[in-house]
Symmetry: D3
Subunit: 320 residues, 6 copies
């Protein structure tokens, strides 16, 4: 019998029964969280979205769909819930009416969370939510990042100089010194482009930019070996934009780009995270209004589970 | 400041945020329920369905959609949460693999619930779930019933003698002596028929059968006046089958019958429940796979709220 | 035990089981049809559609959905299958690649059908299919018509003089002398208009044009009393365009017009067909691609059943 | 032959052909607009939405669906395009990343539009977009308003003091002196409530608040007679929130409230606008992601056409 | 001209026309079946489903979609209808209200079918339906099996000891001695796991368990060569669970697991069935409520056709 | 600053704003087109469809979705709008009520277009629309063709001798001498077959037929190298049937065949068009009613962009 929180089993209570929490884990509020190693948290926010909104609804749909994820990893046979203590912390506070206020709320929440020794695993939210998260995690020292995405999110501004959208978070994070570009890699870049500006900025700053064509040609093992080398032993954030997947695997997203990864390829990539010193992660840009079936959200929660397994091993190792 | 549980307000936390509970109320398990007047409970079960399954998924979708129901009734200005203490009790235990075992589990759960002085307001489940509920509520003495439905659910058996389906619960309940047919009324009956068997049985037993044509002609006030007279002051169960509504208002159900009530008419009917001695209620037959949009579930939760307002007044009155 | 074909009962074989035929009746081909009074037939064709195609798929979806219609009428308690012999004749031959050839095929098929003493009840197809049907039924003598529709379908031509579209069948039928305009009534007309041309033509020819506003104000009984007076004892065709219903009741159609009848109102109208000498009928313009849920098709089959009940009584009366 | 812009006719070019403009009218930019009486304009913006976003996509879907609206009104036989010159002005500039900047852009655009003698008929956008519109139209003198809605939109603030959401525009407009509360009426109010705050504010300021129950009981003619009396001969804005309709008629909206108007009732209300001195109007809160079928948007454009007919008559009368 | 039943050709009757039968073949009841080599049969049943129900509707939707499958195999140019006599036998009797009774009905039906020398090709149904099928086919001697699935379906029990669900059929079949575990292979296993119990049981009994990772790495030819070696010349059942496919290829299923086979890979696997002594087969777990578009059902029928081609060659070879 | 038409940028005007044109380019009518190199044109027509209609709605949905395609190619960094002048020419005239008249209209329109020195890039329409296009382009001399499709479209006739359907255009084009079979290649052929007739005809005439299995085995580079060799330097048409893609990538089409290309594979193929002398192209068979989400249409517009890039380079090279 594990000493840690265990998910309700579908062999006992049918998976359609009971209240929805992430992975059918107990819900504890951040205030009452004690002895929690991994805090699964929702960030229901999409004010940074420039085209099709919706990720504000993602945490709810992802909690619902996560009931279909069982406790043991199919390949490694790791049960993260046996290694560390995991809980659903509920949703981070946001303000849909004020972008700047929301960023402040997220940052404050994350600082509290980190202060309690919890490693965060978030369900976004659009990608702008990674910026206040990095402000909290990289406050002391810029963190490295392994970033799966169709887009660099390194643009400078939109609509006549507006600097905070889901196309700009990592440029801001680099400028603010909370993200270390030289310890950052972006995998899966593709899609028609406005211009070269984001790529040029990334290259200039030392971010490793991996286009989908290169990623497919080299294969997941080689790409991830390079990723592990780039981030090294340092603290590393993992950001998984659901649009790294081909839109047929993730139609429920705001900026779909065809020609993406299959979910099988994505799983192969994430399984190579083992050994990385993961201090936080997110799966973002799931947009329920564009996929009422919930398959995008379901896929997102499987990706969260893949990351959670690596994260749990990483925490267990640090601890031992 | 109310002394009772209050729903989270959408003016404070956006309605898409936070974990899903019925009406954004606190969740307490039946075991820990203390001082609860009304227990909102899910019955995620559909083994009695003879055609299109799905209501097992209803409690989850209804919790989600109930976030859009605010705290004050639009006409009466009643705030039920100020009158009595309401909580989400979670889901009642069921077994999708064994119909008889499920009925046992529901009955047992309800006896505990009633034993704790809680008035149950359930989100079904297919209509067969009302049978074990009535077994618990009518154990001492048969209860009366105000029943909104397109169907009598008074059939004898299906498929060569099988007695437990969502078309038979009230015939069983009458036979078992837990439902008083003479204090029962069914409103909204319609749809093509197999034969006259169910109507003849109902009439013979003294159930008041109100067809949709009669209900529309007489209007909600007259019909409900008669209903109140039939049930009198005695203990009365309210059962609301979502298919009493026209399928355009409730496409997400298993046995849609065209030509039904509008939701406005349904609300007018439910608002006449004031003064009835309600000892329990359910809203059943919501089937999410047949309405991914959630509007059927949303409508079902508004009907629950209408009933809850009458129920709260009834409890408050009993208490005073 | 009836001497006639009986539908498979949902109390014996669940309604999702077995092959799809109209109302779960036996299928007999026109060639082998003997002793059939009412032949239910599909006309899978939509070449006359000027905007959104799809009715070619209607017969299939309507067969599927008709499994939910039971054998006894809810109000009159008539069981048409006890009065006359009804069968599913399958689909009428069509040619999606050639409009004129299709009309020829339908006309020929209907002449054979009529020659065998069968009264046809069709599931269209777009409304142009009523033209070859009337050519067969009105060959000897123009027939009268009770026509439910949002549109007059009395336009002259489209796209530079093309005379055969689903907006023109009844103008052609009048011109060709197979439809008697003075014994014709159109009920439910509405929607923004190109111009006054169709109304003026109808009025000039003596067709009674009933706009939705008038129909609602007078009510179903008065309107249908007038309809019965107009058609008198003579041979009368009933044509029910599903777009007479408000689009919320029938989203699956090609030319939706808001502000239409509810299905309850439509049923009230059709129930007043009793006593009319019905020699054929159709329910047309169901378009499955615009309603994958099947509710439009289901509604269409209930309307067919309403008409079938009146038709069966009419045939039984003629026979006795 | 009319001297004014005419829509492309579906009898000439099929309705699925050609570029999408509102009502198939010519597109002219505001800069080049000359001799335009009514400017149909899109406001693709939803930053004021507190729950389910989407109206930013409305103008595009509404242009597409408006191809099904023909040129002549079915009851009055008015052809607005014969009375005045109407054009599609394209979309008003907005900024999805900055709420305050967007309001500024809309106000500026509208001031230019008004300066050119154009009467605006807008397709929103969430309801907050009516605020900058009123700032432009009511700059000189507060305007009156006939407002169809399930909600008062008279709340003070959300999420801890935020004053600009789609629940607050008319409180702001009254406070700013651009809307005359005593010449304002709100019709169709319903839905569960947070509290009494918005109603109390409205009543205190002299706004006439008509709940759905009252509107149904009195009927469209009486209610609108009162509305015409309230606004008198003065300049009057018409604001039509699509959620005044029951959600079955308008599922594609952000804050559905069951028990609303049918589209037939809504048309009856709008047809009583004749004689009102309309200086601008909008149809808002259509949310395409919640209704991919487009029926909500289609219904919205028919409502725009109903208003346009009254508006055209009003302008023609002023001119003559 | 073939001596056998031929499907109606889409070059003659359009594919949307006519009654729906499997592959547009003639329908003959089991009672009247004579000279039939392959009987295509529906098993409309899902009482074994532990989470999302729906496969009871699969045979109907699959018949409909199978109209798009033509008569000749694209690679081998085999026309199965020229080799053997194939017919649609309709649906096997079931009882949605009683799981044990249903299993009895299926077993009895299959024994009759087998007794008439017919090789069955079934459209399920959830996977529990394979158990009564194996009871009939393996009555004399345990059969071998080539099984494509994401899950082993070798669990022991659910919900406190219930032994018959769609997660347990093959454990029961092995225990009952109707399935030979040493002549069985399962291909495509994946997805998060409850625990190791099912794998350990399978390994202990000698079932060859092939995880998706291994299947992809070795490729279809190598895996199927091993499969053919394992089953040898003996009687072999083929069971194809639609969830072996990635959910993007088969969203309409009850237990989707991401990272599965593409349909191209699945076809490559099935084409290697040539030479296997196939005595029966099924395609199960298609769930129409979760894919109204019908693409899952369509894909399922193409898989049935692939199997039918191998089956026809196998029968023809035995006969010659 | 380019001298040519530029698309509106999503960094300036949000992508949901403004009127829908292809790629957000200016719209100019064919009559006023001057100095246009590439004319993007819609052919809203589907009268050739033998099963599921819908492509008449494709140009509108594709214009809408094309707003998500940015201006620079992700791999080559080519910006076609900097090389040549591109415009949206609107829709080609058609007649949904008369197939032969429509073909005439398309041919006439294309002759005018070609006469103005414009290279056409079309959004169909079903595949029959390629026939009148080839009649215009190949009038002087038969053109070569690189054709991506699941089907050969080389059938002779349907439904008893009808020669013009979407299954016959290229047989007609070869017979009429406007398409050179020896300079033609078809890539991606698959799906069950009626018979061998179309393949035999193609082989006899010298068309290179590449089945999907061969295409996958050899890979995009080898296949396209052969394609370039076959068409040589001569004038070449590119026809892209969206059903060359697997149905999961393009569910919105009339004749889906499973086991097709992924969109990544399709892009890889199209990128090898560089160097081909492209004188026209089309993307056909997108059917919006079967994909309301628009992903099929979006994918189609990305394919158009891939072709446009090669086309622009080809034109620029010819010019220089």
């Amino acid at each position: 019998m594990s000493q840690f929180n265990q998910p309700m089993s579908g062999l006992v209570v049918p998976r359609f029964g009971g209240l929805s929490t992430f992975f059918r884990l107990p819900h504890v509020t951040l205030e009452e969280a004690k002895g929690i190693d991994i805090g699964v948290v929702g960030i229901p926010w999409d004010s940074g979205t420039t085209n099709r909104p919706g990720p504000r609804h993602a945490p709810r749909q992802m909690r619902d769909q996560s009931a279909m994820v069982r406790r043991m990893h199919q390949v490694t046979r790791v049960v993260p819930y046996d290694l560390v203590n995991v809980a659903d912390l509920g949703d981070c506070p946001v303000n849909p009416a004020d972008l700047m206020d929301s960023m402040k709320r997220v940052e404050t929440y994350y600082k509290t969370l980190v202060g309690r020794g919890i490693t965060p695993l978030a369900a976004g939210g659009d990608h702008l939510c990674s910026l206040p998260v990095l402000r909290a995690l990289g406050e002391q020292k810029p963190v490295g990042m392994i970033h799966f995405d169709a887009h660099t999110d390194l643009y400078d501004s939109y609509f006549g100089g507006f600097q905070y959208t889901h196309g700009t978070p990592f440029r801001r994070a680099i400028e603010e010194g909370v993200l270390d570009p030289k310890r950052s890699i972006q995998i899966g870049l593709r899609g028609s482009m406005y211009d070269n500006d984001d790529f040029e900025y990334g290259e200039k700053m030392g971010v490793r930019l991996v286009r989908i064509e290169e990623a497919i040609e080299k294969g997941p093992k080689a790409i991830m070996a390079e990723a592990r080398e780039i981030v090294g032993d340092g603290e590393t954030y993992v950001s998984f934009d659901i649009d790294m997947l081909d839109p047929v695997y993730a139609p429920g997203t705001g900026t779909p780009e065809i020609g993406g990864f299959t979910s099988r390829e994505a799983q192969a990539l994430l399984r190579e995270l083992r050994g990385v010193n993961i201090i936080g992660a997110d799966v973002v840009e799931v947009s329920p209004p564009f996929d009422p079936s919930g398959l995008t959200a379901y896929t997102g929660t499987v990706m969260m589970f893949e990351i959670m397994c690596a994260m749990a091993e990483s925490i267990a190792k640090r601890r031992s």
